[in-house]
Symmetry: C2
Subunit: 221 residues, 2 copies
């Protein structure tokens, strides 16, 4: 009997937006993975214990901001990332040197499916993360991620374009957004050309902290 | 010697935006002055003492939300409103019957300049408010409002299209926005086609309350 892969939900977490609606700044580079000014989106996240653990540091805050960060990892059995969230390289992979932004031990600890137009062999990292490169589209990536998650949830990490594609196909069950008190002016707007109400989303939860307005959007309630 | 009218600032206050960036819902009518769903934008404002006083009621909250509401009236000597913020009537004024959404005693208590393409005689209301109808554009309205304010500040009330026009001309010194935990899906987006960073704005203040993320944007700092 095949594993039941239909029960897991598809979730987005810790997705920060600026006041003017951008989920990333323009001009991503190796030095600025979140685009110009994009780092200011995540100022609520950097001091959390969860983020500090991801970067090998002790301490960090354990309040509401951290609770949202923690939720983003709970019950997740596989991830999907857009190519740009995996790295700054465009086009063909020049060699196997680029292994993501996160060092030898990425914070995923499970299978991660990277959307790309350029085939590449799976990349087994330390700590349980394996990067799989999917060249046949978002539906295939989700099918593979669901299967790998084996009943647990699939988290779509980002970036903006990837989340938009899954939103348009009504494939995301829940999104946690963090509205940050910053202006980006340009970059990638999450809701550009998208009507979240028409797509079936409602705001089912909101909490403010000194650093952000956290909202949870859910489909079909 | 003419009155010095250059010292007053031009301010926007209590301008609510949804998570998806809308400052008003679609399809404004007499019954829904803020457009369909637009009322949910202002849920932070309705319980405040300031709002309750505007509607002739006692009580109301006196915390941070109310403090922002209070600031919006302090030091203001004249207002500018778009036609739609004054009323739902489009085209020619059929008669003098429509006197704004606010009853006999509007909450302005000073001269208010209404942008319109259709001339109408000034409308003297109770409590110090006079509505002046300006048919020769936003610059003329601002000139008249500055003169009427006599050194105090000019507040641009809205709606979205009016604020956008003044933003594009770099005529607004300060904006207080309240990001509300709600989705509108469609309507009028404040930052559509506008780059607030390029226009010189920075976020100089932010405070969260259980109901909203309040931010203050200022030009040229």
């Amino acid at each position: 009997m095949p594993t039941d892969t239909s029960s897991g939900r598809v979730r987005v977490h810790c997705f920060s937006l600026s006041i003017d609606g951008f989920g990333a700044g323009p001009d991503q580079t190796l030095e600025q993975p979140l685009g110009v000014g994009g780092g200011t989106l995540h100022e609520w996240f950097f001091p959390t214990r969860t983020f500090r653990q991801m970067t090998g540091e002790d301490g960090g805050s354990t309040g509401v901001d951290d609770a949202f960060a923690v939720r983003g990892f709970e019950g997740v059995g596989a991830w999907i990332l857009g190519r740009n969230m995996f790295g700054p390289i465009r086009g063909d992979w020049p060699d196997g040197a680029w292994k993501g932004w996160w060092g030898d031990t990425p914070p995923y600890h499970c299978p991660v499916f990277v959307l790309t137009h350029h085939a590449r062999a799976p990349l087994v990292m330390e700590g349980g993360t394996t990067f799989h490169f999917v060249t046949d589209g978002i539906h295939s990536a989700l099918r593979q991620a669901r299967e790998a998650a084996a009943g647990k949830d699939v988290r779509i990490g980002g970036g903006v374009a990837t989340v938009q594609q899954y939103l348009r196909e009504r494939l995301i069950d829940e999104l946690h957004l963090a509205i940050a008190p910053t202006l980006l002016g340009s970059g990638e707007r999450l809701f550009a050309g998208l009507d979240p109400v028409q797509l079936g989303y409602h705001c089912v939860e909101h909490v403010t902290t000194p650093s952000a307005l956290h909202v949870v959007l859910r489909r079909g309630e």
